[in-house]
């Protein structure tokens, strides 16, 4: 079984496209759509990489990331943030909270694949 990626995103068509690209590349993709329970989901079975959207129902990706970095077992877990807002302050906030990488929507399939491979290998 390939390495596990947890995609936390609430847009169904984005979930479908990213899941397809990564699965085809050999990754095992799990998805989760709710911000409120996302941190629990990560802790219950930590994946090799989390792809985390910022704007989620219930709770923002920033808050989830803060939680993950505050817990011993997920402190070093690679987390790649996805956001529709690419302003410097958003990037700085993500990196300050401990994001491993930050990607602005819309992105290319090649870009997301390359980043996933790099983050898990690194």
């Amino acid at each position: 079984m390939g390495k596990r990626v947890l995609l936390i995103e609430d847009e169904p068509n984005i979930i479908e496209a990213i899941s397809f690209i990564l699965t085809r590349d050999g990754w095992t993709v799990h998805t989760h759509e709710d911000g409120e329970t996302a941190a629990e989901r990560v802790r219950s079975r930590p994946p090799d990489l989390v792809i985390l959207d910022v704007m989620l129902p219930g709770r923002s990706g920033y808050d989830i990331l803060r939680d993950l970095r505050g817990a011993e077992d997920t402190r070093a877990l690679p987390v790649m943030m996805l956001t529709a807002r690419g302003q410097t302050k958003d990037r700085e906030m993500a990196m300050e909270l401990g994001a491993t990488h930050f990607m602005t929507k819309p992105f290319s399939n090649a870009e997301i694949l390359e980043n996933v491979r790099t983050l898990v290998a690194g």
Partner: protein
């Protein structure tokens, strides 16, 4: 030899006599008369006229009338007050004293002052409009939908171009693109209608201008902290009056709650409003205003402020990330600010959240407060103040909005605008 210093090389302010003298001289030169000719026409000596033209003698009464008649102007043209207030902000750029200019060319000075004021008002208007766009939740929500849909279309289209390798998957992705394209069309139409439906000219009130002035300074005035005056140059007369009143309150708060001591004490109790008020024995409202004016520093939560009068009209705002408030449209009826108005002097504390998936929980503290001098005539005025602070506890928040006119909570029972 007498050396006459040109007006533009003088450093001190000009007296009224000097203003009149400069105008007499300018008019005399313009009509091509010598001092001797003009003095003779008026019946005074040339040396006395020379002294008057240089402000060394007062010009008034029959002499002023005679000079005006001889120069072919109304006496008021020579004595009219010189309005230099609007030119003060330009003086540094000009690098020359402005009084002489204004005295010699009052008409042009008026035009320049009016233009400078207009430029300043337009700049404030642009800043206010940009701020509204940046904080408009409807616009932000629509743009987020556009970006998300474009992301999905881009990714799905790439898969199809490369070939999904499975007919079922390809059919599914075609369906997704179709659904996304419909969604995109809907969102962009709504966005166009929203922007196109906006009034062509949004009036910018003095309150907007005053708020823009405070926001430009980050709601912190270092001059007041060290006992100096704040320059209000460039503000319209109405905004000047509002800002001056706000700064008076700021100065009172700064005196009662000295910056260094206050900032340290607030940080020590993690910005707990009641604890800070108890520590300094000051009213909650003063503590809230002072907290909202603290300059940003590491570890300090975001803080916003809203103040209203007894009619619920918002009279002051400090917006903050996560709690965007709109001025012109009025506040949200669900803000604890309004609950405080009905609670006597009992303070209200609630965890609240603005619309939007990304909106953080904020703790709102509110309390009503007397306005002006208290009296027993039954006509004492009351208002309320609310401070919103970031990093709220993880308790279920009360949903609130930025104000009905731009609030996306369409099913809200408190909504007053359909």
């Amino acid at each position: 030899m007498t050396v006459i210093t040109p007006y533009f090389q003088r450093e001190k302010s000009l007296s009224q006599s000097e203003h009149i003298g400069i105008r007499v001289r300018a008019r005399r030169v313009k009509v091509g008369q010598s001092q001797q000719q003009l003095a003779k026409a008026v019946g005074i000596s040339p040396s006395y006229l020379n002294l008057m033209e240089h402000g060394k003698r007062r010009i008034g009464g029959s002499v002023l009338g005679g000079l005006a008649q001889a120069l072919g102007v109304d006496p008021n043209v020579l004595t009219a007050a010189v309005a230099t207030e609007g030119l003060v902000p330009l003086q540094d750029r000009a690098g020359e004293p402005l009084e002489g200019f204004a005295a010699q060319f009052p008409g042009w000075a008026g035009v320049v002052a009016e233009q400078a004021g207009r430029v300043s008002r337009l700049e404030a208007q642009v800043a206010t409009m940009a701020d509204r766009l940046a904080h408009d939740p409807t616009l932000a929500g629509a743009l987020h939908q556009v970006v998300s849909t474009v992301t999905s279309i881009r990714s799905t289209a790439s898969i199809l171009v490369e070939g999904a390798g499975d007919r079922d998957w390809e059919a599914r992705f075609h369906q997704n693109i179709h659904a996304d394209s419909l969604r995109l069309a809907e969102v962009t139409q709504a966005l166009a209608a929203y922007l196109g439906g906006a009034p062509e000219k949004t009036p910018v009130t003095a309150m907007d201008e005053a708020t823009a002035f405070f926001e430009e300074r980050g709601h912190f005035f270092e001059e007041i902290e060290r006992g100096a005056d704040v320059s209000l140059a460039g503000l319209s007369a109405a905004a000047h009056q509002i800002v001056a009143a706000w700064l008076d309150v700021y100065a009172q708060d700064a005196q009662a709650l000295p910056l260094t001591e206050f900032a340290a004490a607030a940080a020590a109790v993690e910005y707990d409003v009641a604890a800070v008020a108890a520590r300094f024995a000051q009213p909650l409202g003063a503590v809230m205003r002072r907290l909202a004016s603290l300059p940003a520093r590491r570890g300090q939560p975001m803080m916003g402020l809203a103040i209203c009068d007894g009619a619920g009209v918002v009279t002051r705002l400090k917006r903050t990330a996560g709690f965007d408030m709109v001025f012109g449209a009025g506040g949200c009826p669900l803000w604890p600010l309004y609950a405080a108005l009905g609670q006597g002097m009992r303070p209200v504390q609630e965890v609240v959240v603005m619309p939007g998936k990304e909106a953080p929980r904020m703790t709102a503290y509110a309390v009503s407060q007397p306005i002006g001098t208290p009296s027993f005539d039954g006509r004492g005025r009351i208002g309320a103040v609310m401070l919103v602070v970031g990093d709220a506890p993880q308790t279920p928040p009360h949903p609130v909005g930025p104000g009905c006119a731009v609030c996306p909570r369409e099913d809200c029972t408190a909504r007053r605008i359909a």
